[in-house]
Symmetry: C2
Subunit: 366 residues, 2 copies
């Protein structure tokens, strides 16, 4: 099979881990738990507490605690309450990760996607602005490149998306960019276009619970290896113009991705130089977060075989509608301007995913 959908990965909990690791941030998590377990937050906080030095200050200790708010971003009053708690200027910046992200589902219930991803973003920006919180890092996706004309894909590629989900990402980037153009002295924004995140925190404490049959390659392989799914796998097409004919994606470790958010947040600080060479007044930019290395479906299966010791059986079937042959990032801009580098390799991603899955075969609720 190939990877059309976004990987179910709980980017959010890994980003919180990366923020807490620095002990420079106090994290307020805002989630309606549509697709997450509050237990994930308890576990991230546990990791942070465990990592505190013996001589930790009160401030250090506080940075290990998460202010976990249950709020739905489509409800203006619920967002407002979170900001009200901290008052004007009380929140330094927002990392806006919340979204629905199933490509197929978005073609079936597009209005739900436009409401949950786009209208919610407008509310969030309006409310943040009202409380003088004018820094935002936005979770975008490689899906905004549609069928890209050049590989590896630079950020200057024209944006197009094949699904309502992908279109919501383009719309939100557009809205944030327009806001930064309208208020160049107040607002700063960065969109991070994730390529394919994989793996999990090496502790095995946080990751994604495989509920039902996962639609994505990595977790599906994990679920098969762990015995939760039958050992049958469809590889959609081996006649693509790629080295072994199967689809190629750019996988990066979710912890590398998470640390990219930290670099992005730092780049919104007053002293940052990332907007110095901008062509307009607006302090807005978009960056690819990927490794810059394409890996095929067959390469992933082989790497997961090595990591799990499990012999996967697969069958080559016809191409799947909507799949793009190759989505490999050109990651040079993020490296140059943010200092971002996806360091971990495929074997580490497989090992960490396997570690999480064997330790939590039923996810957080085991």
């Amino acid at each position: 099979m190939s990877a059309q959908d976004e990987q179910p990965l709980k980017v959010c909990s890994h980003v919180i881990f990366a923020l807490q690791e620095t002990r420079r941030y106090k994290v307020i998590s805002v989630d309606n738990h549509h697709n997450s377990s509050p237990k994930a937050l308890e576990r991230v906080a546990q990791i942070a507490r465990d990592n505190l030095p013996a001589n930790a200050s009160e401030k250090d200790k506080d940075s290990a605690e998460i202010d976990a708010q249950t709020a739905d971003l489509t409800k203006r009053d619920e967002i407002k309450k979170v900001f009200e708690k901290y008052g004007k200027g009380g929140i330094w910046g927002v990392i806006h990760i919340a979204a629905y992200k199933a490509v197929g589902e978005s073609t079936e219930i597009p209005l739900t996607y436009y409401e949950n991803n786009v209208s919610a973003t407008v509310y969030l920006l309006q409310t943040a602005s009202e409380f003088d919180c004018t820094r935002i890092v936005y979770s975008s996706s490689a899906t905004v490149y549609g069928t890209p004309p050049t590989i590896p894909i630079p950020e200057t590629t024209r944006l197009e998306a094949h699904s309502p989900y992908g279109k919501t990402k383009i719309m939100c980037e557009t809205i944030i960019s327009d806001l930064c153009s309208a208020e160049p002295k107040r607002w700063r924004g960065l969109s991070l276009r994730y390529f394919n995140p994989g793996g999990a925190h090496p502790s095995g404490l946080i990751g994604e619970a495989p509920i039902g049959r996962p639609g994505n390659l990595f977790p599906l392989l994990g679920a098969i290896a762990v015995g939760a799914q039958p050992n049958t796998l469809k590889v959609f097409g081996n006649d693509y113009p790629t080295p072994d004919g199967t689809c190629v994606r750019d996988y990066l470790h979710v912890l590398d991705l998470a640390r990219g958010h930290l670099l992005a947040l730092d780049a919104l600080a007053p002293e940052s130089k990332v907007f110095d060479n901008a062509t307009s007044d607006a302090r807005y930019k978009a960056y690819n977060l990927g490794k810059g290395k394409g890996l095929s479906v067959l390469q992933i299966i082989e790497a997961m075989r090595k990591a799990t010791g499990f012999e996967f059986k697969y069958e080559i079937v016809g191409r799947r509608r909507g799949d793009v042959p190759d989505l490999t990032a050109d990651p040079t801009l993020a490296e140059k301007e943010l200092g971002f580098k996806a360091k971990e390799d495929l074997d580490t991603m497989c090992r960490d995913l396997w570690n999480w899955q064997t330790k939590n075969p039923k996810g957080y609720d085991a």
Copy 2:
């Protein structure tokens, strides 16, 4: 000067006139009166009553009355109340005209535009769907063509917009199109891309009140001629690649435009053939509504001189940022499939506008 902003024209009241003229529709108007006077509706209803035949049936008489609802489309409960009044299946279709439309303002307060134009459209579609009202005609704009590569502009031109306002129009078209793709057996939608509407109802009873200095050519000329504005006029650029060097737009009479909505509504009926040759299941299309004839700024000034007898003084100044040299529609698709034709000529537009302005120098509140 040239015409970057949308013409302030009260399309809505003219569309209601066109619907009532047929006596086939009972009109429910939904407006928050952000940019309209309730008096306009009283006047339209008056025209409809005056036009009733001597032997008018009770149904005829009812069609001349408007159910005027004050509701804000950004408030879900307010939209819902309107639909609740008529119940499931009680409303046949929606003509969605409401929007903010000032190009310049949209670059200053983009979030307000995204909320009022895009989020409101999502709510409207969700609520309509809930009440089994699944036919929509949407007010789009020639601004979705940005700087078009070919003139006259066919509907197949790639969409791009230079302002947040224009982007809201593209987003709404996208959302409606995705909804029609998702539910091809339920939803039908048509977007009407208006070119430059001008004129007013020949009765002089409905039109736009010139408040402040109008940003658009037609009403500005009217306001100057009526003595409400000083006789100074800036023509932005006479070195464009157009016959006389000034910007060219495609003007059509607002009543022709309004009647286009009637044709579009009829095209959503079960027996309509407009979706027969569609390339997908989705019953969604976009049509240009224009005359297919470009007119320059200088031609408009000359036509208004003839209509008003007033000698306008103008000065040629430099080009204005964001102006596109030529926006002339290719109107053949709407003619072929909807039977639409913008019949009235420039002189009629000028005469009717002048008639409205001399009769209502202060608009509805005189």
